[in-house]
């Protein structure tokens, strides 16, 4: 049995029939073909699959695609606009907030909501908000710096 799902992903409308058990992250990666959203674990710990669904940072490995029917979704591919990097992306580049790059999309999407909640975050707030995202390369030091950089530059733009 397959069920219809419709979503808006990075501004594009999608419409497919999927197995009810298909995970949202597999829908995004395998059906829609956006492979920037990664799968790093199977227990919702690592956060590599983090996307924005209706403005909320969610782990796409912990939802079925059918549960996202009708949702508006932003993935890492949808963050830069007109070829211009989002300040969070720029911050990760400026501050060397990534090494292997695998956790990075999830980190950036989590940081997006983090900065909505705390436009001027303290280091403690950043570290606490990143608790659901694992990075094995950076020791988080430069991820914190990247998000601080983004906060400064986003404040300047508003």
């Amino acid at each position: 049995m397959k069920l219809p799902v419709k979503m808006t992903i990075n501004g594009q409308k999608t419409s497919d029939e999927v197995e009810p058990r298909l995970l949202l992250v597999h829908y995004i990666r395998e059906v829609v073909g956006l492979t920037g959203t990664h799968v790093g674990c199977d227990t919702s710990q690592c956060g590599a699959c983090t996307i924005l669904m209706n403005g909320q940072a969610v782990k796409a490995c912990t939802m079925f695609a059918v549960q996202a029917d009708g949702a508006t979704i932003t993935t890492i591919e949808g963050l830069a606009r007109n070829g211009e990097l989002h300040p969070i992306q720029q911050g990760f580049w400026e501050k060397h907030g990534l090494q292997c790059g695998f956790c990075t999309p999830g980190m950036i999407m989590t940081a997006y909501q983090l900065l909505e909640r705390y436009p001027k975050p303290t280091e403690e707030q950043i570290r606490h908000q990143l608790e659901g995202n694992l990075c094995r390369c950076t020791g988080y030091h430069n991820i914190v710096k990247a998000i601080e950089w983004a906060a400064e530059h986003m404040a300047g733009k508003k």
């Binding site: 197995e19 058990r21 298909l22 597999h26 990666r29 395998e30 073909g33 956006l34 492979t35 920037g36 959203t37 990664h38 799968v39 790093g40 674990c41 199977d42 227990t43 710990q45 690592c46 590599a48 993935t75 890492i76 591919e77 963050l79 830069a80 990097l85 992306q89 990760f92 580049w93 400026e94 060397h96 990534l98 090494q99 292997c100 790059g101 695998f102 956790c103 990075t104 999309p105 950036i108 280091e123 403690e124 950043i126 570290r127 606490h128 990143l130 608790e131 995202n133 694992l134 990075c135 094995r136 390369c137 950076t138 020791g139 988080y140 030091h141 430069n142 991820i143 914190v144």
Partner: protein, 787 residues
Amino acid sequence: MATVAEERLFGKSIKRREDPRFITGRGQYVDDVKLPGMTYAAFVRSPHAHARLNKVDASAARKVPGVLAVYTGADVKVGGLPCGWMLPDIKVPPRPALAQGKVRYVGEPVAIVIGETAYAAKDGAEAVKVAYEALPAVSNAKKAHETGAPQLFDNIPKNQCFYWTIGDKTATEAAFKSAATVVHQALLNQRLIPNAIEPRACIASVSPATGELTLWVTSQNPHVHRLLMAAFVLSIPETKMRVIAPDVGGGFGSKIFVYNEEVVVSWAAKTLGRPVKWTAERRESFLNDAHGRDHVTEAEIALDHDGKVSGLRVKTHANLGAYLSTFAPLIPSYLYGPLLSGVYKIPAIFCEVWGMLTDTAPVDAYRGAGRPEATYLLERMMDRAARQLRVDPAELRRKNFIPKFTDGAPYQTPVAFAYDSGNYEPALRRALQLVGYDQTRKEQLALRPKGRYIGIGVSTYIEACGPAPSAVAGSLGAGAGLWESGQVRVHPAGAVTVYTGSHSHGQGHETTFAQLVADELGIPMEQVEIVHGDTAQIPFGMGTYGSRSACVGGSAIVKCLDKIKEKGRKIAAHLLEANEQDLDFAGGTWTVKGSPDKKKTWGEVALMAYLAHNIPKGMEPGLEATSFYDPVNFTFPFGAHIAVVEVDPETGAVKILKYVAVDDVGRVINPMIVDGMVHGGIAQGVGQALWEHGVYSEDGQLLTGTMMDYALPKADALPSYVTERTVTPSPINPLGVKGAGETGTIASTPAIANAVIDALEPFGLTHLDIPLTPQKIWKAVAAAKQK
């Protein structure tokens, strides 16, 4: 006009060129590759640690919708997985790609199911019925050695794979007999599970036209994968196998090795005639990625009346798991014993290692690989000795340091290594300054009466990077050379492609190597492309592990550039009708000395090399060079890390208040990248000190099989780090660089452990085994209070 070459890029924190694709979601990892007609694999794995494998019934699985095939150990006709490092009298157990006759650890692959979709393959795997007859199992290396312990292999008595020693037994015994102080300590260096955030994955595809197998695999060393798989497992010519390791999401050692899955998937793709993809679920990573560490050790340190270390005696049972992973025997032997002298002048050392087989996942190199085990041991023993002698632990270290090396003279330890260069005291001095050591010691004393327990942990470490001189490696049992390849191809319009045998899985080679090339040739970085990770493009190379990319891979590139510049100079001299010796080369331009108007640019020379209209007589056209650089020694980075922690005795919780790292990795190409590696390394070492522990039950069930049970370091439990460097160039390579990728992991575990034990001094505690979890600390404090 300022030219690129005038502002050298060596030593500059250039932003990484690889980042734009990663921060926009355009990286291409193995699991992102999709081929036409691709099928998907799932593995059936043993739930038993030790069992006879009586029957695999795939009949129901084959009927599951979408399932294309099921293959068992009886079907898959390939060689066993090879071990690439031999030790004297080692007993090598056979390691089939899929279990045959017996299973020996939980998670060992028993069958492969291939489906039209990943979900169908998993459905099929669920439906495979396997009849096991459970056998007694053993998971602890020391228990596996006891008489009557369960036997993994009939022909390997007492599960002892090897017995290995290094050092002078007689001299060490004499040192202990005449010692003023002897400190004994039993130490556990717990099993770790690497957990690169990208799970392992592979795709195999066989071209019906050429019969060539292409394997995309999460590998740190694609040529090593090709060599071992083609020659030893699949028995096909290397020319019929191409290995591509595209973007790889972290390795930390775990992606060096040849695993069951890529072997079986390759065979299945050929048999089925369609591409096959397998991507590990994280629970599979826990079960079947090679684990790290897992030593049970008895250590003794001897000191004379002046507090100088006179001897070190070590007995280690190293857990190798159920089979020998690719480089397993190397890690607890030559990457362990030779590190036991550390940065100290120790006249006599003797180390014995028993390599033990147990019913657990294979153990192999994990970030640091042997060196963290040795460093933890030595640094813990230095602190134990300092406590026993009632001297300051930093002072005891300083007193025992090997003095500053005179230029070019190596230091010969009693355990094989000859250190290339070193100057240990300044790094410690600077770290003590940065942490505010004397002041913190005062605060420590002042806070204790208030019920607050601060601890300071010092770790002065050495590390051996950039393996290795191939002849030495060969004499010690290596099944491969350990040089590195480089190839530099100058294109007619002057742009340059560099092919490197090193592999980047986070290290940033596309940036650092381009910095080197741009500097040497005096051209902009934008004109330089770095290619790695594809055996069809690059010359045979050895890959990235052991912090070797800059010192070995980078040196190979420099060798190529020397050849390129030499040929370029000849062409320029010919065009300028000048003697070669009369030319200067700077900023990408050859000029005649004293006549700066007479010049030829890089682009003009490159073009002429390919036009060949006017080049020296007898010279071949073209401008490219290949080099194979074999290092004459390891490089030996060192440094001092100091941690300040607060321990809450009521809860056992540890808070890191400050972390200072002063490293010396020789000359540094890109400080930003080296700092980043140090940060990440520290976090992994802190993980071992405080949280991470791969726990098997006595009967071999993995109790920490998910990220819910295995505690990886998280952002909110770590501090920001203070990092600085001293610079002692390595004399053994043309760049003066040493390795930087593993220093943090090696140094930080003992720094944190020493800090925690230091904090607990008022409770009379002299040692606790890592990881120092709140529960362990709380229990120890509670027990101490009872006394």
